[in-house]
């Protein structure tokens, strides 16, 4: 906040410099009361005019004051503003005193109600535009990482537009939405995708709708973390609220328009490259096999001696072509009509594939303030080319806002945003686009060898079977695209009046809309996976209307106490229409259109839902010391069964500012002390509908497509939907309390804000998995409980403040323990995503979520057992044990920290994040071993003893491998470990340098009235991680399994860039 103020005052001062009236000159020196030292940068201006300046390094100033000036105002951040009456003096020296603390900092709470920060009985935390925009991150979620306590922000990958999952204070719903409500300029908007990636093992990622928000438009973000803070939003608020205020002209100095043009460029590279083996060729058990996915062949250098394909040996190929000393036969080159004889060498297929991504953001913002209002318009374009071929993003954000005071009573205003977004993605997991990039044999030149047969672009040439497509072929042929157009905004009229004496009334009516349409295309072109192609065209149109009426009364009872009350009504109505067209079996390649498909199915759906809420809030302030607040809201929702639609949610909170007590006031070293506590209940509604019949679905299992599709020969059929709905469904309820303390010491040089909160969620609504023998797969019902204990601490300090040099530290610590207490009777776990095994699930007694799958077979003491069966192929190797919980996803804690060093107008800031603990399923790590491509498999000639115990309890001493047992090492990785899911589980703690930015603002005008700022920055530098080979922040899924399950996922990136900012 302070920085914004500083920047604003700076702008103000600058904007005014040119408007000099005919006047007298005054001068003087500004010093601090504590040390008597001069203070530079103090803003000095004549009240009620546009005339002003700032003090020089030595604290002196000189100002031309118009004759009609009454007061000269001296203000500086962190010090109390002084107004000195102007009566024609020519010298005014001023001593500024430190502000005790910022008593008047006003923040926006639920439903736009403005409250002083100190009056709050619950935790809120804010992030300002500078913190968000420092490294020009075009992704809002990424821009918040490391800057907020109690928030776990999990990006899915470094691909343009990649989804991320934000969860505040743990999860409340097992399978439903756990992400906060986003409110932009008073209007709640959609932030999640309509489409869930489901099991997240096929297709491409689907971006969240929060990707539409342009960080460059944001003035500030205020996060209401707890239920008490958010309770006024009713059922939508159980996951917390992210309140976004966009940049407006309201903070400008009245006068001429301010134009700001900014540009950011950044260059992306893969954040981490796996360690590969570089000795062994494609093949199986030491023999070169040119079409296997495995690299368990001979040494690459020995390829010419391959009995079947070597140029040095007598075989079918040398009989035809003659001996080819030192070369080996590559059938894929023959397929391409090229010389098939190649000298063996090592290729780096990973590095060959990835390119340097480029992202740029260009933005123009014009704003102006008038006596009776203000406006702002902004246009921003963000373009991005990803590190993977044929990925990218193009986003246009256009926003406008304005406020106008019509008369003493009426004010009108609006805020509107238009977004146009296109994202090109790639697919992961079972449809992995990058499987070959990750695991192509080092002996195969993936980039250099043609990817299709000559004259036939749709017959792929590849090193392996067509389970996956050649990534270079994909770049030319497959498409995973989403296009969004969106408008959101609102208009309002506000009526304010003084009813009597100290009683003020304020009535506001706001009507808003959030409307978007997204079209998706997933195209596996003719020839994909060796087949005739599959395509899906689908999309959603959603329009949400929000009507909000609030009436507020403010009544000052006396100097010491005040009451304010707010009552209101909110109606939120959403209309959704979706469509899908599925086409299979194209006639020919190059025309990937539904008309070219021989099997076509289509669907459409319409849904609507409505929430109507009535609410009230009452607060009482006493002596600026005691703040009591109570709220209540009754919601009616359409998505619940008749009779169970109305719910009431109360909250109470109390804030006590102990530093207002006389004995505490007397303590010099305490600047501020506040204790707070709150209690709230909020809920979440389910999505109830009557049981229904549906068209059978034959996809899944062994099938890549849908082998049976209705209608069959013009005959349709409908079966009972295998998910049913409990007609007695009631809303799930979250009860929470939090207590916190906020202390500031030594003139605010050091502060701590600690919050403990406890949430108990009962009657969770989820699709309870049923035993198949019940005849249905799931029942949407109440069941289960989960609780969360959260410790959040925010620490801020200014260890050094000498002259122009300042060092600020802000640290955010979160420890969130989210434990599943119970599930519906008979249910022990809920599937969240992945495969049958391994899967991500919620399980009783476990933290949420966990990874479940085949474990190592262990003895009673939990030690890994090996097979003791001399002569068996797996003698001395571990075995698959029973399926079990094999990994816990939640971290122990997350620690984020920002260090800012500023000297005059130069500042260097670094944001670190340390995630300690937590595990993930790293499919790619295990697969690299299976394929024989990881550096771990480099040594295949030594003997090995697998670390484990024999069934008789002795430490394993069975020696396998070596020259006399050459197959053992491959058996271990390919036939044993690859079948044990637990082997794929890794801790994924990490330390990242999220942001490093050096920025400079030119202290004076560079030209006319032009200000200039430049910055250089880097993002997401992985410093350390417990996860081998990959960046831990690359995974599958845009839902509750996010961050836990990785399999051929698209990699994370590290960015380097610069920004230029011009204001005039």
């Amino acid at each position: 906040m302070k920085k914004v103020l500083l920047a604003l005052s700076f702008l103000m001062v600058i904007g005014l410099g040119s408007v000099l009236a005919q006047a007298q000159t005054i001068s003087g020196t500004v010093t601090g009361s504590e040390d008597g030292m001069p203070i530079p940068g103090v803003s000095v201006f004549a009240k009620g005019t546009t005339v002003g300046t700032v003090t020089q390094l030595d604290g002196t100033y000189s100002l031309n004051v118009p004759d009609d000036a009454d007061f000269i105002v001296f203000s500086f951040i962190g010090m109390e503003t002084q107004e000195v009456p102007y009566e024609g003096q020519s010298v005014i020296d001023v001593t500024l005193v430190d502000e005790a603390f910022q008593v008047d900092e006003v923040i926006v709470t639920a439903l736009g109600i403005k409250r002083e920060r100190k009056a709050l009985g619950y935790a809120v935390q804010d992030v300002d535009s500078e913190e968000i925009g420092r490294t020009g991150n075009s992704d809002l979620a990424g821009a918040m990482q490391g800057k907020l306590a109690g928030m776990d922000i999990k990006p899915s990958s470094g691909m343009p537009g990649a989804s991320s999952q934000i969860v505040i204070r743990g999860a409340r719903s097992f399978t439903g939405n756990n992400t906060p409500l986003y409110v932009v300029d008073g209007m709640p908007i959609a932030s999640t995708s309509y489409y869930d990636t489901g099991n997240s093992v096929t297709g491409a990622d689907i971006s969240n709708r929060a990707v539409d928000i342009n960080p460059a438009d944001i003035e500030s973000i205020n996060v209401l973390k707890g239920q008490a803070a958010a309770a006024l939003y009713g059922i939508r608020a159980s996951n917390g609220v992210v309140i976004i205020t966009t940049k407006s002209g309201a903070n400008n100095k009245v006068g001429k328009p301010v134009v700001r043009i900014s540009h950011n460029s950044s260059f992306d590279v893969v954040s981490r490259t796996p360690d590969y083996q570089s000795t062994w060729a494609q093949g199986n058990y030491g023999s070169y096999v040119p079409n296997t996915s495995l690299s368990w062949g001979p040494k690459i250098s020995e390829l010419p001696n391959s009995p079947t394909y070597g140029g040095n040996t007598d075989n079918a190929y040398t009989q035809e072509d003659g001996m080819q000393q030192g070369k080996f036969y590559v059938p894929q080159l023959a397929q391409a009509g090229l010389d098939p004889w190649k000298e063996p060498r090592v290729y780096d297929n990973w590095d060959d594939y990835y390119q340097t991504g480029y992202k740029s953001t260009n933005s123009v913002n014009v704003s102006q303030a008038f006596e009776t209002g203000s406006f702002a318009i902004a246009l921003t374009n963000t373009i991005q080319d990803g590190i993977a071929l044929n990925t990218g993003m193009d986003r246009w954000n256009f926003k406008g806002s304005g406020v106008k005071e019509l008369n003493d009573n009426f004010t009108v205003g609006f805020s509107s945003n238009y977004v146009k977004l296109e994202i090109d993605k790639l697919s992961g997991a079972n449809d992995a686009s990058l499987a070959g990039v990750l695991s192509a044999p080092a002996s195969y030149n993936l980039e250099g060898y043609p990817y299709h047969e000559p004259g036939d672009p749709y017959s792929q040439i590849y090193y392996r079977s067509m389970t996956f497509d050649n990534p270079y072929w994909i770049a030319q042929n497959n498409t995973f695209n989403e296009k969004t157009e969106r408008f959101f905004g609102n208009g309002y009229v506000e009526y304010s009046t003084n009813i009597a004496g100290s009683l003020d009334l304020d009535v506001k009516y706001q009507l808003g809309v959030d409307s978007y349409t997204t079209h998706f295309q997933d195209i596996f072109e003719y020839g994909s996976k060796g087949g005739a192609g599959v395509m899906d065209n689908y999309g959603v149109s959603s329009a949400t209307y929000n009507s909000l009426l609030t009436a507020s009364l403010n009544w000052s009872l006396s100097d010491n106490s005040a009451i304010s009350a707010t009552f209101g009504n909110e109606l939120n109505h959403e209309e959704i229409k979706t469509y899908s067209e599925h086409g299979e079996d194209f006639n020919f390649g190059g025309w990937s259109h539904i008309q070219n498909a021989n099997v076509v199915t289509a669907d459409e759906a319409q849904e609507s839902e409505r929430t109507v809420g009535f609410f009230g809030s009452l607060s009482y302030d006493w002596r600026s010391m005691l703040f009591l607040n109570a709220t209540g809201r009754n919601d009616y929702v359409s998505t619940m069964p008749r009779g169970n639609r109305s719910f009431f949610y109360p909250s109470v909170s109390l804030g006590f500012v102990a530093s207002e007590l006389e004995p505490v006031k007397a303590l010099d070293w305490i600047s501020y002390a506040k204790i707070r506590g709150s209690y709230a209940e909020v809920g979440q509604a389910g999505n109830y509908i009557n049981n229904y019949f549906t068209k059978p679905d034959y996809s899944g299992g062994f099938w890549t497509g849908e082998p049976i599709q209705y209608p069959i020969d013009g005959v349709n059929s409908y079966i009972s939907n295998n998910v049913q709905y409990d007609p007695n469904l009631k809303p799930q309820n979250t009860t929470s309390y939090e207590v916190g303390v906020n202390l500031k010491f030594f003139n605010n040089r050091f502060g701590i804000d600690y919050t403990y909160s406890r949430q108990d969620v009962e009657d969770q609504i989820f699709q309870v998995p049923l035993a198949a023998s019940t005849g249905a797969a799931g029942l949407v019902m109440n069941g289960g409980a989960v609780h969360t204990n959260t410790h959040e601490a925010i620490l801020y300090a200014t260890p050094i403040k000498i002259g122009d040099f300042t060092w600020d530290i802000a640290v955010n610590y979160s420890k969130i323990d989210n434990v599943v207490d119970e599930l519906a009777s008979g249910v022990e776990s809920i599937f969240l995503g992945g495969f049958v095994t391994p899967q991500v699930r919620a399980g009783i007694g476990n933290t949420y979520p966990v990874i479940y799958g085949a474990s190592f077979k262990r003895d009673d003491q939990g030690r890994v057992l090996v097979v003791d069966n001399p002569g068996a192929w797996n003698h001395g190797m571990p075995e698959q044990g029973e399926p079990a919980v094999i990994g816990e996803v939640s971290p122990e804690f997350i620690l984020g920290g920002t260090n800012t060093f500023s000297y005059k107008t130069v500042s260097l800031s670094a944001v670190f994040e340390w995630k300690n603990g937590g595990e993930m399923y790293s499919g790619s790590n295990g697969l690299l071993d299976l394929y024989g491509m990881s550096a771990r498999t480099e040594d295949r000639e030594s003997t090995f003893i697998y670390d484990g115990y024999k069934p008789n309890g002795e430490k394993n001493d069975i020696v396998r491998g070596g020259v006399n047992d050459p197959d053992a090492i491959q058996d271990l990785y390919v036939n044993v470990l690859s079948n044990i899911d637990e082997y794929y589980i890794h801790e994924n703690s990490f330390v990242k340098l999220r942001e490093l930015a050096l920025s400079y603002k030119h202290p004076t005008k560079v030209f006319g009235s032009v200000d200039l700022g430049v910055s250089v920055f880097a993002r997401n530098i992985l410093l350390w991680t417990a996860l081998p080979n990959f960046d831990p922040e690359a995974s599958q899924g845009n839902n509750n399994m996010g961050g836990s399950f990785e399999r051929f996922s698209l990699p994370q990136t590290t960015s380097y860039g610069f920004g230029i900012d011009v204001t005039f």
Partner: protein, 471 residues
């Protein structure tokens, strides 16, 4: 000004109250995308498709095919099944099929309720009879493969969460009961129109459904031979069934037979060495028809490499899935006659079965080919060991769509002490899966099934009841 404001306030509050009345919210929450009820004729069609494609056509057939050595699993799950690593005991292996059968049974139950007394289609006896026959069929596949399974407490979602297991013996009583009631209902007159094109098996022809019902009674009577031999009944039931292959119960595909689709999508099978050996030993002309080449995968010890071995040449698009084939009935009769020591009758039935099997659409041999083969190769073998030759011929005829039934026969024969089909997988010495492992959907959520499942190793040791086991 204030007056207008007050009026506006009152009005808007009133309209907001109307905006959240139960009726309004009901309208808003109405599901316009899916029907809440449909006629039984629209439900039963998919039960037929699912029974054919999912229940006997795909996963159970693919795994049975490996265990019975019709094919050799050379990759991934099929390879693991081949080398008995993980797959045979894992609860996830057959989970989809386990779920599909219960889904069919649930939908059949809806149909039976609709068409029974008090239901919305009371008196729709023919659809009721067909549903009962299909219930018996699905239930039989379920208990044949999984043994004791939930039934009496099953199919009540949201009411009973953890159904108990019923014994296979009682389930077989239920199966025969269902077949008998089904046949009874098919004999009744009804005013409801027939299924017509909604019936993918018989186009609504009730006589053929009756034959199918009788044929199933023959099959299941034979199944219980180890417990309660009734070979005469097998013959009389079979005689009341199909009179030619044209009447057999089969599901025809336009372009997606399960084995064809499995080859396209997965490519997990190689041609079986032991299968080839049996054919070659008999100079069987099908040895040149069944496989794409002569690189056979060794049973139990193949390399896990795709496209290295020859494959099935009869996994074609249009290969039908047989719920019950005419040739199976002939082999059932042949076995029954052998066991009754009526060898001439047995020989006739055996020859008829071979002739029918030779003429399956994806085999494409002629009756004359079959007769030659019978005269030159089969007859002498039959004379020296009638039971062995009947069962081996049945085993060969079942390649590859009828793997589930081949698997059932093998287990029954072993239980009866008639180990006449030789399998070569060396792992069989310790690990022949004598049953399928329970589905994960029940193992994870139904304590009764979980207890029965244990660690899954029972699949190697505990036979189902009709094969001499206890559960």
């Amino acid at each position: 000004m204030k007056k207008y404001l007050n009026i506006a306030l009152v009005f808007s509050l009133l309209s907001f109250l109307g905006a959240c009345s139960e009726d309004t919210l009901d309208d808003i929450n109405e599901n316009v995308n899916d029907p809440t009820d449909v006629g039984s004729h629209l439900i039963i069609t998919d039960v037929m498709t699912s029974t054919a494609f999912r229940v006997v056509g795909s996963d159970p057939a693919f795994y049975a095919s490996v265990y019975i050595e019709h094919n050799v699993g050379i990759y991934n799950q099929s390879y693991n099944a081949e080398i008995r690593s993980g797959e045979p005991i894992s609860s996830t292996t057959y989970n989809n099929s386990w779920g599909s059968i219960y889904e069919n049974l649930y939908n059949l139950n809806l149909i039976i309720e609709k068409c029974s007394e008090g239901g919305s289609e009371e008196g729709n006896f023919h659809t009721l009879g067909i549903a009962q026959i299909l219930t018996a069929y699905n239930l039989a596949v379920l208990t044949d493969l999984w043994g004791d399974v939930p039934w009496t407490e099953a199919l009540q979602p949201g009411v009973i969460f953890t159904p108990v297991l019923d014994s296979q013996e009682s389930l077989y009583q239920e199966i025969f009961g269902m077949l008998n009631s089904g046949l009874e209902n098919l004999n009744k007159e009804t005013n409801f129109s027939g299924l017509g094109s909604q019936d993918f098996f018989y186009g609504g022809d009730i006589d053929l459904w009756k034959k199918f019902g009788n044929g199933l009674k023959a099959r299941y009577t034979m199944r219980l031979s180890n417990r309660n031999a009734a070979y005469g009944d097998v013959i009389s039931f079979a005689d009341a069934s199909f009179e030619s292959a044209a009447e057999q119960c089969q599901y025809e595909y336009v372009d997606a037979s399960p084995f064809y689709q499995f080859l396209q999508d997965r490519n997990y099978f190689g041609a079986s060495q032991s299968m080839h050996d049996k054919l070659a030993d008999r100079n069987d002309p099908r040895d040149n028809v069944f496989f794409t080449g002569d690189v056979f995968a060794p049973n139990g010890t193949p390399d896990q490499v795709q496209d290295q071995y020859s494959k099935s040449a009869i996994s074609v698009e249009t290969a039908p899935t047989y719920l019950l084939s005419y040739h199976e009935l002939q082999f059932l009769k042949a076995e029954a006659y052998v066991r009754l020591d009526e060898l001439e009758n047995a020989k006739d039935a055996l020859e008829e079965g071979i002739i029918a099997a030779f003429q399956k659409p994806n085999i494409g041999l002629t009756a004359a080919d079959a007769e030659d083969y019978f005269a030159n190769e089969v007859e002498s073998r039959f004379d020296s060991n009638p039971l062995a030759e009947v069962m081996v011929q049945k085993y060969l005829a079942f390649y590859e769509e009828e793997a589930v039934e081949a698997y059932n026969d093998y287990r029954r024969l072993v239980a009866m002490g008639d180990d006449v089909i030789t399998l070569e997988n060396p792992a069989n010495l310790q690990q022949f899966p004598v049953r399928f492992s329970y589905g994960a959907d029940d193992v994870t959520t139904n304590a009764n099934v979980r207890e029965a499942y244990g660690d899954g190793s029972y699949v190697y040791s505990e036979e189902v009841w009709w094969a001499g086991g206890s559960r």
